[in-house]
């Protein structure tokens, strides 16, 4: 297994935050990043996925072939798609079991599951087409589309990282101006995480992780850039802390550009996230020695992010059922969080243990 690194560490951190945020009403929700930032852990998770894409594409010196990159990325899209179907089925079974054994049909409705039980014929088609997504189980469909778009950005990046960034920015701007989004079906509506909006923060991660181009420019001027963006970070923190978010009537057209919108990942969210990321970059290397076990824990989660994300999603749903059954409160919420930390860590350890066993058996 690779040694702990900055990307894995923050990805692990984002995973734990996602777990907490996916148990609504939990006491520890108030300490998560969304209380201090306009965005939340989703931006961090998608940005880091973009950074990781750099490892797939390879450096300038050791570039993978176009075929290789395309097949690996599309293969990853299939892998994520399979994970989405699996955790969706788990979630449906958990809700069905809870509704059935607790005698509470309302639980069958949770997270957009109602239509699955009400209109199974149409909704099952929607589940497979990803046009029907359960609430809190809607990040992986975004990833699937991002992975399908990734070969295009990888190809553009070969010509110039600026070109990849420019095309991504153009798609994002067009989406914000027109309100374009993928439709949901059979439930009327659109995707909660619009891939055409979220691809920009993904591509930002991809190009900034490159040794040259925009990434090099930012790293070279990191010190004074941090000074320059401090007011943006502070203003964002003050806005988030006070729960300020402009309403559609407060802002001019095109409104999605000016709102702090999550579905389209609007500029204010992305801008503040990138500024905060500028401050956080390099922090990992300077963490004190006593922090090492925590750093290792988060890095292990991050190294196995897909497996841990699946476990995290299912666990958070169990946490919600537990809250329904036993109510909330600091003691119960602490228990839920502790179980989450242990089980997520255990699932990451098991994934690595399996990989090690496979590697050693193939050597025999």
């Amino acid at each position: 297994m690779r040694a702990p690194n900055e990307i894995d560490f923050w990805r692990g951190f984002a995973l734990l935050t996602i777990f907490i945020n996916h148990v609504p009403g939990i006491f520890y929700e108030r300490f998560t990043s969304r209380n201090f930032m306009l965005g939340d852990s989703a931006e961090m998770f998608v940005f880091l996925a973009g950074c990781s894409l750099r490892f797939v594409v390879g450096s300038n010196e050791r570039r993978a072939s176009v075929h290789d990159v395309t097949f690996r990325l599309l293969g990853r899209a299939v892998e994520i798609y399979a994970a989405q179907i699996l955790i969706t089925m788990f979630a449906l079974a958990i809700l069905a079991a809870a509704g059935h054994f607790l005698g509470q049909p309302a639980l069958l409705d949770w997270h957009n599951a109602g239509p699955v039980f009400q209109d199974p014929i149409e909704t099952h088609i929607g589940l497979v087409l990803l046009t029907h997504q359960l609430g809190y189980f809607n990040i992986l469909p975004l990833y699937v589309v991002l992975m399908c778009m990734a070969p295009l950005f990888a190809l553009l990046d070969r010509f110039s990282p600026w070109l990849a960034l420019g095309v991504s920015f153009a798609i994002w701007t067009f989406t914000l101006v027109t309100g374009l989004n993928l439709p949901t079906w059979p439930v009327e509506g659109t995707w909660f995480f619009n891939p055409l909006g979220w691809q920009f923060v993904f591509v930002c991660g991809f190009v900034l992780a490159r040794k040259d181009g925009p990434g090099a420019l930012v790293r070279r001027h990191r010190r004074w850039l941090r000074v320059a963006v401090t007011p943006i970070v502070i203003l964002g923190v003050v806005s988030a802390w006070n729960g300020f978010s402009p309403s559609p009537g407060d802002v001019p057209e095109p409104k999605l550009v000016f709102l702090f919108d999550k579905t389209y990942d609007s500029p204010a969210r992305v801008l503040q996230f990138l500024c905060v990321a500028l401050f956080l970059s390099g922090l990992w290397a300077r963490l004190p020695a006593w922090f090492e076990p925590i750093s290792e824990y988060f890095s292990r989660l991050g190294r196995n992010s897909l497996e841990v994300f699946c476990v995290c999603s299912v666990l958070s749903l169990c946490g919600q059922i537990a809250a329904y059954m036993y109510g909330g409160g600091i003691a119960k919420d602490t228990l839920v969080l502790s179980i989450g930390i242990v089980v997520m860590g255990l699932s990451a350890w098991l994934t690595e243990w399996r990989a090690r066993s496979r590697a050693s058996s193939s050597q025999v």
Partner: protein, 269 residues
Amino acid sequence: MARKVAGLLFASLSFVALAAPLAWAQDSAAPKPDEPPALSAQCQAPASDIAAPAPLPNFAAALASKKKARILAIGSSSTYGVGATSRSRNYPTQLREILAKALQGVDVEIINRGISGEVAATTAERLRTEVALNRPDLVLWQLGTNDALSRIPAEQFDATVRSTVDWLKEDKIDVVLVGLQYTPKLARDKNYEEIRDTLFKIAADEGVLYIRRYDAMRFIAQARAAPVLAQDEFHLNDLGYRCMAEHVAQAVIANLFVRRFRPTSGFSP
């Protein structure tokens, strides 16, 4: 106000400002139905059980000036229509038919954005996006049931709903809060009762129209012995959705031309 200015300043840092304040047309020549549509025999309930009244000035002005109205129905399973035999039987679709008949000469469009099992905080987030994209004249927000079941603390629910109602009012969009589902299984649930009371209080404090769905459906289920619930005894059936649509239609039309806020202290939650 200072916070608002600071936030807007922040938003403007990243984009070009093209300020164009919204102008809200007001016209007293709105089409006035003689009286609200009559309730069908099976959906009869005391007026005090149907709604806690409040005026809808912006919706009335939009009807008058544009001769068309766009309504955003947002919420959870009762908006989507879980329990109905088909989606054409859900309450927003039936409401559109009733309003089209009652408000002759007005083109009524209803956008359904119901997502089953959603808590108010998530709907509140979607609401901002939907308002930006669809610019409704009236928002029907059905909420509370899932927050009660998810054990969302009442004060957290209160903060979410109040802040959303506040910005809708500031944006001059009328909002109707459609209350919790009636179900005998949750009649004595403490959280359920707490969220119901909170919602009632928010509506009274904020002066927004509140549909007392729980009370109306309980009345029909108990007094008339008409089956308004589906087999699971939780979701509404076709008749239940019909009654829900009729109650919302009657409350909306009856309150269209209410100019002053009428005190609701005569009702209990």
